[in-house]
Amino acid sequence: MKGTLKVDGKNPEATIRSLFARWLKESKLSAVLAPAYSTAGTATVALVSDPEKLSEAAPLLPAMGVNSASIVAEIAREASPNAKVGLFLRPCELRAVVELMKLKQVAPESLLLIGVDCPGTYKAAGFRNVRGKDADFDNRHVREQSGYAENVNFRTACQMCEYPKPLVFDLNVGFVGMDPDKELWIEAATDKGKALLEGVELDAQDEPQKRKQALEKLSAARKARTAARIEELDKAMMGPEKLVEYFADCLNCHNCMKVCPVCYCRECFFDSDTFQRDIAEHVRVSLRKGATRMPSETLLFHLTRMNHMMASCVQCGICEDSCPVTIGLATLFKKVSQNAQKEFDYVSGRSLDEPLPLVTFRESEFLKIGEG
């Protein structure tokens, strides 16, 4: 089921809010998780269950401080099986939710995946200044579409993101390639999504050509940008010890790991005895070598983290935003995870049916390994 939805008063954000209100009132949803402004004007996320409180939600808010998939895992754990929580999420957040479902961390029953186009976001930190006093900022962001591909103020990961439209969703709200002052593009991909659309007045039609073209164009521009970025990274990485240099400022705070939406173990490997050296071992090493760096294991941590995440990393770049010393993690993970996923013809979050690459295999692959 798909078609255009009429936008009232040149305010697409309010139109989306009234959809939420309708679904909450009709008890099709028990709550909605969506971007929101805090009272201080910063970008955050809210779980809204009372339709009266929907003014808190800012569904088109173009700034990102967390990947909400990490919140979804918690919600899904606590939600009663009868709950129907609508997740109004960006493409990279939905892709992370899909990975978490496949990793058996999120049970899909109580959740509805409601996606929204995302042509790029600003960092949550400092966004208040970008937005200024412009109450119409969110709508302007979806209305003025010409600068998406060139915007260098978007988060690094967004500048390289080739998925402005969600890949897996029950329902999607689109605006790229549309005239969002007049109409939004609504698409239901599943029965759950279709049920939400019952009673919503759509002008049913095929996806407009200009929308398809706009999405493709943006995607192509982003791929080109990604290639250029990775080339720069590769240049920076040439020569010995370069990875050590890349992480030279790392504080070992492990923030990058804590905020990662697809990093899911409840008891972290990096906190385990397998990873942690006890202090006695440090002393032994120091006595043997004369000196040992404290804290140690920085590079081992990062290589192991890359190895753990690369099959499911959704390239959201939230790790980079969380790094207090601004290490270029977004480009690094873009490269490393893209490469790994290419090996298996896999794209994280692309489909619920594709098995996770590291729990499956084909007999007739990688035949060179072990024979060399």
Partner: protein, 151 residues
């Protein structure tokens, strides 16, 4: 540094240290057979017995390199012969991506080798160790992951 002289490949005396993760059901027995049959191979390997090549967490490999190993060998049952049916197939996927990561990290993938050796292949095991030792010897001592350790 006294160790530098002993590990100078130019002097032709570099004996690499290679950590070998051997599957209990095949390669470990293959190593045993090589020993019983008195087949000669370089004394470069330090054997760690694992229940299956699928038990080898890529972290073990990174940790071995970081702890000073010059090379790592992982050896399991031939594809199709895993005692747990599919352990080595899954391991093979993990190694494939680890290889890419090592290369990216500037660690020569030649330091990490994989092989399939059955319990009956004593001679093959010796040959694998000879090959791997030679490969690592060519690469010289591994300093890469160690560097950050030094204050």
């Amino acid at each position: 540094m006294p160790e530098a002289a002993a590990t100078n490949p130019a002097a032709g005396v570099f004996e690499p240290k290679i950590v070998a993760f051997l599957c209990n059901w095949c390669s470990y027995a293959g190593a045993d057979l090589a020993g019983i049959s008195r087949i000669q191979y370089p004394p470069s390997i330090r054997v760690i017995r694992v229940p299956c090549s699928g038990r080898v967490d890529p972290f073990f490999i990174l940790k071995a390199l970081q702890s000073g190993a010059d090379g790592v060998l992982v050896s399991g049952c031939h594809p199709g012969d895993c005692h747990y049916l599919t352990g080595n197939y899954v391991a093979r996927r993990r190694f494939a991506v680890l290889n890419d990561l090592l290369e990216f990290a500037g660690i020569d993938p030649g330091r990490v080798s994989f092989s399939w050796v059955s319990a009956a292949e004593g001679e093959r095991f010796a040959e694998v160790v000879r090959d791997v030792t030679e490969k690592v010897r060519q690469l010289g001592p591994n300093r890469k992951l160690l560097k950050e350790e030094v204050a």
